[in-house]
């Protein structure tokens, strides 16, 4: 079987979906899984039965992993908080994410280690989302004691976009709102990982380089496109890009990871580093870039795919895009099976899958390879890539966001090539900002102009009649 990872990933995903729909006893299914596992060992010489049993094991693994991820440990903080209990408690632990300003709240994830309530001190584990309506200089890894009441998130969105479920998928079940600086007591030391701390430091440095030579709006857009930091994007810009179906350019995706791999590879090539060492270093740099950009689903997917592709060159094997996509999906879903219900995960994988599947078929259908005009062929290829991605994600977008945007294909044809150049300019700006700030200023001028052009095109495109339809 050439595409064994694809079949295994499909069965694993089916297992996760079944596990969320059907109630079952963990140990009964685990027992069944052990029996199948033993059967697979005994019948390994019979090809068909062995394959059949392995697929069943993948199905069971998906369901069991989901069930296990939803069982909280006994000392989980969620077990100590009762419904509608707003009594004060003191929570000690450390900051587990980079604090971000969202809707005028400084927000971060706090990893609890101990809790004191009604003079009883308990050691605990688990994560809490902390929202502060005052500003304080806090960084990832800071050891703190927080005093406040813990609440459960409300389900104010539609079922598919529920905030409560969104947080639960990240392993967060509780919120703490702070409105007084006295509710925070600092403890000495930093419990964060050094690698993550360094990646955040580098990200802050890169953000400062971008905002040094650009005004607020272009800097915010470039930070989103290159570093995956969306906090500087105004609501109107984000909203208008959702309407035109081009909001995907405002996140770090496979394209960015590809550019980083290409730049790093080129730099090492210039340094005359041998091929094998170069590929290994590129993989390491990709992992670091993944950390810098916040390890979101599209970046993890693209990093795993990129690493598999590069590893294939390292071991002189032919890379297969379906297999690498399947391994990337398995990588994310083994760590957190609930991610399969995340819209971002679904869109990220479906868009790539749709491009890989539909594009070659459409290319043959319209006899594109016979076209000799290079410009016409490039435009047609862009159209087909956009159309394939739109086709693949149409259903999910319509179901979740209640919007159909026929203008998406046209908008992507115009905006994606421009976004490609802007991303390249962004990376050139970052590198030159580190090496030669005077050159960075010169690069920032055309970059700003291109971002202005992109925003203007987007504003014009969404004004076309029936560009987008809400239902």
């Amino acid at each position: 079987m050439k595409r064994a990872p694809v079949v295994l990933a499909v069965f694993y995903c089916l297992g996760v979906i079944l596990g969320s729909c059907i109630w079952f006893n963990f140990w009964v299914v685990m027992g069944l899984g052990i029996v199948i596992f033993a059967g697979a060992i005994l019948l390994r010489k019979n090809r068909y039965i062995f394959s059949f049993l392995i697929l069943f094991l993948a199905l069971f693994a998906g369901a069991l992993n989901l069930k296990n991820s939803r069982i909280l440990p006994k000392d989980h903080i969620n077990n100590f908080v009762y419904y509608k209990d707003d009594s004060l408690c003191s929570l000690s632990g450390f900051i587990d994410s980079q604090p971000e300003l969202k809707d005028n709240y400084l927000q971060f994830i706090f990893r609890a280690q101990a809790m004191q309530k009604d003079k009883i001190k308990l050691s605990c584990c688990g994560k809490v989302v902390v929202k502060m309506d005052f500003s304080q200089k806090l960084t990832y890894g800071d050891n703190l004691i927080l005093i406040g009441s813990l609440t459960r998130p409300y389900n104010f969105g539609a079922a598919s976009q529920s905030y409560k479920d969104f947080l639960a998928r990240q392993g967060v079940y509780l919120l703490m709102r702070l409105n007084d600086p006295r509710q925070i007591i600092r403890r000495p030391g930093n419990s964060g990982s050094k690698l993550i701390n360094n990646s955040f430091w580098l990200r802050a440095k890169m953000e400062s380089i971008i905002s040094r030579d650009l005004t607020d709006l272009p800097a915010g857009i470039l930070c989103a496109m290159v570093l995956g930091q969306k906090h500087g994007i105004p609501w109107l810009v984000n909203n208008s890009m959702i309407k035109s179906g081009t909001v995907h350019i405002l996140v770090v995706s496979g394209f960015n990871v590809g550019i980083v791999a290409w730049i790093i590879n080129l730099l090492f090539k210039i340094m005359r580093i041998p091929r094998k060492a170069r590929i290994t270093l590129v993989i390491l740099f990709l992992l670091f870039y993944c950390l810098i950009t916040g390890s979101t689903n599209p970046v993890v997917r693209a990093t795993v795919m990129g690493a598999i592709f590069l590893a294939a060159y390292l071991f002189k094997r032919i890379p297969d895009i379906y297999n690498s996509l399947a391994i990337a999906a398995l990588f994310i879903l083994v760590i957190n099976p609930s991610q399969i219900f995340d819209i971002g995960f679904q869109l990220s994988f479906l868009s790539v899958l749709a491009i890989v599947y539909f594009y070659p078929k459409l290319e043959v259908l319209i006899h594109l390879k016979g076209c000799r005009n290079k410009i016409l062929r490039f435009i047609s290829q862009s159209c087909l890539v956009s159309f394939s991605a739109w086709l693949g994600t149409l259903g999910i977008i319509a179901f979740n966001f209640r919007i159909i945007a026929p203008v998406t294909v046209l908008a992507n044809i115009l905006i994606v090539p421009l976004a490609t150049i802007i991303t390249l300019c962004g990376f050139a700006l970052l590198l030159s900002g580190l090496i030669c700030p005077a050159l960075a200023y010169l690069i920032s001028v055309p970059t700003s102009m291109l971002i202005n052009l992109l925003l203007n095109i987007n504003a014009v495109v969404i004004k076309i009649p029936f560009a987008y339809i809400y239902f």
Binding site: N104, T215, N452
Partner: protein
């Protein structure tokens, strides 16, 4: 003389091209300030003019309820127009926190 590979040539050309574009544009801005409009995005692309927005569009904005939209429109009709964003605070239902959010969405012209 310069022993570049094809990839290195592309990078050098791209960076030099960008730098020359930057030089030309920064020079043009110094000669004619109107060119800055082409380089830096205008506020209209990121914010909404509070004096021109119609009630239907106003309701669609996050953090603006139907009632608040009505009050904002009433205030605008009564005073002909908003002369500064600070005036939003005079509308019933706009406290300091909501004003901070609205300030990010609207501009006055």
């Amino acid at each position: 003389m310069l022993d570049f590979t094809s990839e290195e040539k592309k990078v050098v050309l791209f960076v030099l091209g960008l730098a020359f574009c930057g030089l030309i544009m920064s020079n043009l801005v110094k000669i004619n300030s109107h060119i800055e409009k082409i380089i830096n995005p205008q506020v209209q692309l990121a914010k909404i003019n509070l004096n021109k927005i119609n009630p239907d569009e106003l309701v669609k904005i996050k953090c603006v309820s139907v009632k608040l939209a009505q009050r904002i429109i009433e205030y605008r009709n009564l005073h002909k127009q908003f002369s500064s964003l600070e005036e939003l605070k005079e509308v019933k239902g706009v406290g300091e926190k909501r004003y901070e959010k609205l300030k990010e969405i609207f501009f006055i012209e």
